[in-house]
Structure formats: C-alpha cells, structure tokens
Symmetry: C2
Subunit: 241 residues, 2 copies
C-alpha cells in the first residue's frame, strides 16, 4: 500500500480521456455512435466541463468527429478510409525502419527478437488468435518507431494511427488468416535493422504493410472468391500488418 493521499498529477479530463479512448478503440462505445454528454458525465461521475475537454482531445486523435450544436460521434471507418490510413502508414513506418536501422544498438535488436519470440510463443499456445486480437503485433511496430528516435513520428503513429487501426479492427472484427508469414517478414525486418541496412529495412516494412493493404482491398470487399485469391497471391501474409 502507498500513502493514502499522494498529490495527483493527472486531471479528471486526462483520466476520462484515457478511459474514453480505450472504450472507443475496444469497441465498447460503438463506432458511429453518438457521444452523449449528460449520459457519460453521469457514467464517469464527473461534470460536463472536463468531459468536454476530453472529447476535444479525442477529436485531436481523430477518434471522434465534432459538429457544432450537434455534438460528437465516434468515428466509423470505411474501407476507403482504412486504405488511406495504410497508405500513410506505409511511408511512415518505412521511415521508422530506416531511422531505426541507423540508430538501433545490439541491445535494441535483442529486444526486438525477444518481442517476436514472445509473440510466437503466445501464438502457439493459443492457435494464433490471441496475438492479433490483443494487438500484440502492434507492439513490434511500436518498438521500432521508438527506436527510430523521431518523436514526431512516434506521436503520429502511436498517438493517432495505431488507435485508428485498433478501432478499424474491432469495427470489422478482422483477424488475419495466418500470422506465420507476418512473423517471417518481421524477422527479415529485424535482420535488416540489425545489419544497419536502412534502405532494406524501409523497403521490407513498406512491402509488409503494402501486403496488408492489399488484403484490405480484397478480403473485405464482400467478394469471397476475390478474397481467397488475394490470400493465395500474398502467400498467406498477415492481413493487418
């Protein structure tokens, strides 16, 4: 136990912002649903003031959309918008890898390997479901952008795009068919980073994400045959990068 009254460093708006963000990206608050201020303020036991501030910050993450005199509603991403995100993500994470390859130490690469190994074990112990359901694959991408050392890049990916990706995954209940291929690609990326080959690391990551985007274009188009074909064509690559 700690001392009972430590001076709190966070504000109510901060706390409810975190809680709301989690509630949104986990689907607890349905995509497209309206954000009702009186209801939420009662639910979280705070007044509307800090709640509204939290909502304004959620708007900054692009998780809700505001309209004057109408209120906020949780974003709902269609496939087109998801593809736009993947296009942006491809170049940003390519940059991540290029920078990471130039800066990563031996210990950093060890951490990357450990992360992949750990994920592989989780996969084997749960038939490949838990890893992606629990967003474990994002950990890998998350660590790389950290290693890049570019804080602006980190902010854009981890402060915005990854949350939107999680939202889209829960929204579409999408799960990759076979993560095995994704693991291989991940290891190849670490290989390149380990060798300090930024160009190759960038290329591999961009290809990795481009493959995932390609799956989006077909798998979720409602055309089952096209989806199967794309899956074959991409050699069982992960659907979500």
């Amino acid at each position: 136990m700690e001392s009972p009254s430590q001076p709190k460093t966070s504000t109510l708006a901060d706390d409810v912002f975190d809680q709301l963000r989690i509630a949104i990206v986990t689907g607890e608050i349905a995509p497209g649903s309206k954000v009702n201020e009186p209801q939420l303020s009662k639910q979280y036991g705070i007044s509307r003031g800090p709640l509204r501030e939290a909502i304004r910050r959620l708007e900054g993450c692009k998780l809700v959309e505001l309209k004057a005199n109408v209120g906020a509603k949780v974003v709902s991403l269609n496939r087109e918008q998801a593809i736009e995100i993947y296009e942006v993500r491809e170049v940003l994470e390519g940059l991540s890898c290029r920078l990471a390859a130039a800066k990563a130490s031996t210990e950093d690469c060890t951490r990357l390997r450990e992360l992949l190994t750990q994920h592989e074990q989780q996969i084997q112990s749960d038939n490949g479901r838990r890893y992606f359901q629990k967003e474990g694959d994002l950990d890998f991408h998350y660590l790389i952008v950290q290693l890049s050392g570019n804080k602006r890049l980190f902010s854009m990916l981890c402060g915005e795009l990854y949350h939107l990706l999680r939202l889209y995954r829960v929204q579409t209940s999408s799960e990759p068919s076979r993560p095995v291929r994704a693991f291989k690609e991940h290891h190849h990326i670490v290989d390149a980073i380990e060798q300090g080959d930024g160009e190759l690391a960038e290329l591999l990551m961009k290809r990795h994400i481009a493959n995932a985007r390609q799956m989006l274009l077909t798998t979720l188009s409602g055309d089952a045959d096209a989806a199967d074909m794309a899956q074959e064509a991409s050699s069982d690559r992960s659907a979500m990068g």
Copy 2:
C-alpha cells in the same frame, strides 16, 4: 448586406481556436510563452470554458503543450525537432506526389502551373520576399496533397505539420536565400505529375524536401562557414522547401 441574424454554425470555442492558431503561427503569441487563461478570456471576450476547449484542440495540433495544474505553453521548436518534422514531411509529401500523379487531371495540372506562375510574378514584384514570407510556397504543397485525394494525408500535413512549419519559420525568422531553384524543382515535380509518373514525382519531392532539411542542418547551426558551404552544395536551393 446579409440578413442581420443568420444562425451561426460555429461555436465560440471554434472561433477562438482559429484566432489562437493564427496568433501562434504568426508569432503574435511568442513561442515558448505561457498561455494565460484569464488574460486570454478577457482579451477575446469569452469565458474560460470555451477557451479551454480551444486550448485542448490546439494541443491536438501540437501547437501548445499542456501540463496538469500548470497550464499550456506555446511550443517552441528547436532545430532537432524541426529536422524530425522534415523527415516526416519528406515521406508524406513524397506519398502526396505519388498519389497526385495517379489522379491529377489536366485541369489539375493547369492549376498547379498557374499557382507557380502566380508565385513567380509575386517574387519578381517584391524581390522574392513576399512569396515565402506569406507562405505562398506552402500553397503549392497544399494543392498537391489535395490532389492526392487522401484525406488522412491531407489532415496530417495541412492540419498539423504545415502549421508547425509556419511556427518554426516565424520563430527563426528564416527566409530562403534564393527561391529560384525551388521554383525549378517545383516545375519538375509538376512535369512528373503531368506525365503520370508517380515514382518520379515522389522522388523529386522527397529530394526537394531533403535539400531543405539539409539546409536546416547547416544554415542555422550558428556556423556561418558551414552554412555558406551547404548553400553552395545545394545549388541555391530554397531553405524551406
């Protein structure tokens, strides 16, 4: 004259957000300075409620930084942070060009040319100062990302990075030495877009911005000789892209 009382579609927080953003990126509110709520609320004639909401939205644009129980302060970018922005901008605008090349119509390219011509005339009539002082060069980049059709990309560049660039320019009172070279590069980029050569357009834009970043590394390092050398090496390229 219009009818005196049209139903207003914007809220106080929206208006003061726009005004504050302009005040920040023009340097009217100094970088690094503290944001005083009582003062600003009096200055803009509103209460602290909507003002605080506007500040939270400014935080979303990364124009202010918030600390609990202390308040907001306007961001102040150092060279390292500016370089990070340029690294991100390089790949994002490269993507802009690649996509724009695939989608731009003949009319779109005409608009790009007109914009460049217009800017060139402004330069000649004002010794090259007004164009960059008034951020006219960003118009060019702005239009290209619009043509890309990727709204997420547009949001990231025009909703965040460009504002930060303006802030950095006013903060460092930086002006490119000779925009002539930048114009040539701009025209070459339009050439590639016009020919539908996305790869080339991407390459040229990335190089264009990489050159500007390189100027940053040297011109503002306090080492005048290094700055001059870099300027020669980059063949009088614009300093700010």
